[in-house]
Symmetry: C2
Subunit: 211 residues, 2 copies
């Protein structure tokens, strides 16, 4: 029996380094993980390829995908739609890959509602001071920009306890392994192995009677 | 802040190899783990030392421990009491060690009720056939013994889904690392890091106002 992959949603503070973390995870274990590819109605930028960075679709196509329930979640930013096509995710999960999906909290909770087996990971710097340092950047940002980033961080912190695990991103190298450990460990949850439990019970009863 | 240890209860089929597994885990990571030491009213056997294999106590002392709530769980087998002294476990947890406790399912569920943060692990061979092979042993056992072992296994299988994780013991070496991964991963559960979450929120609010 080929083991099914786990849908893993990664969220975290802007400036938590979650992008780098996921990229590194995929690079180290390319056979285990797949990054979910979003569909979007925005135009491709220089160097972006359809089916690699995004699935580029028209507004009409996107709205048809919504209507047909072909998106796990979607959101509209400014004038453009962004969403997660269900087909690609399910194909990868069926192939036994753990699919990594980067979305913000509201989307994460929606996905969890739709797929209760979803694993929710939240990436955070080791403390608030470190986060502010990263948000302030090289000292070239205006007070307004920093303030708006800090406000955003306060909002992002509101949903932290809805996530299954916190990934404290102090050292990238260790952090990638922590994330990998967590996902591997989750495969052994008894709630994800009901079939195994049923099978061993049935077989024990059968073998008890034999010889 | 010194991180508190996790109380980890290990149960599993007789013949699942859980004893060997735990011994190996302790041997590999002696600073991280501590094995809970049971108190018992039975007499020490040759080579057993008080405070190492068991805390050897009189029946009177044991019953006083029960009365004072000094045992996390206890049971009586034949004429002797066996139980888990709370003091030793809490001392180890406070020192940041993950405490491993080997007990059967009813005890495990009682411990979980008393300490909801308890992690429950169930060790199982990869399938029922393998388990039967181990229970049959070298072919020197009587039909009655095998039958009684198989009946016991069927009972043991009844509570499997109450455990947090299944440890499928196919290869000892990998299995030890799986167990270690799971326990390390559990330390990152957001439910075990409420203080961290509260602190980062409070600090973000404070830093937002500064400069």
């Amino acid at each position: 029996m080929k083991e099914k992959g786990i849908l893993t949603v990664v969220s975290g503070f802007s400036g938590s380094g979650k992008g780098t973390l996921m990229k590194e995870l995929l690079a180290r274990y390319p056979d285990r993980y797949a990054l979910s590819i979003s569909a979007t109605t925005r135009m491709p930028r220089q160097g972006e390829a359809d089916g690699r960075e995004y699935f580029f679709v028209s507004r009409d196509e996107f709205e048809k995908m919504i209507a047909k329930g072909e998106l796990i979640e979607y959101a509209k930013y400014v004038e453009n739609y962004y969403g997660t096509p269900r087909g690609y995710v399910e194909k990868m999960l069926d192939e036994g890959r753990d699919v990594i999906l980067e979305i913000e909290i509201q989307g994460a909770l929606n996905v969890k509602k739709l797929f209760p087996d979803t694993l929710l990971l939240f990436v955070t710097p080791p403390n608030a001071g470190e986060l502010k340092k990263r948000l302030v950047g090289r000292g070239t940002e205006s007070m307004e920009v920093i303030e708006s980033r800090m406000n955003r961080a306060c909002e992002e912190a509101q949903g932290m306890e809805c996530y299954d695990y916190l990934i404290i991103n102090d050292r990238l190298d260790e952090c990638v392994e922590k994330m990998h450990d967590i996902i591997r460990g989750e495969h052994l949850r008894s709630s994800r192995n009901r079939e195994f439990i049923e099978e061993i019970r049935k077989d024990l009863e059968r073998l008890k009677g034999e010889e």
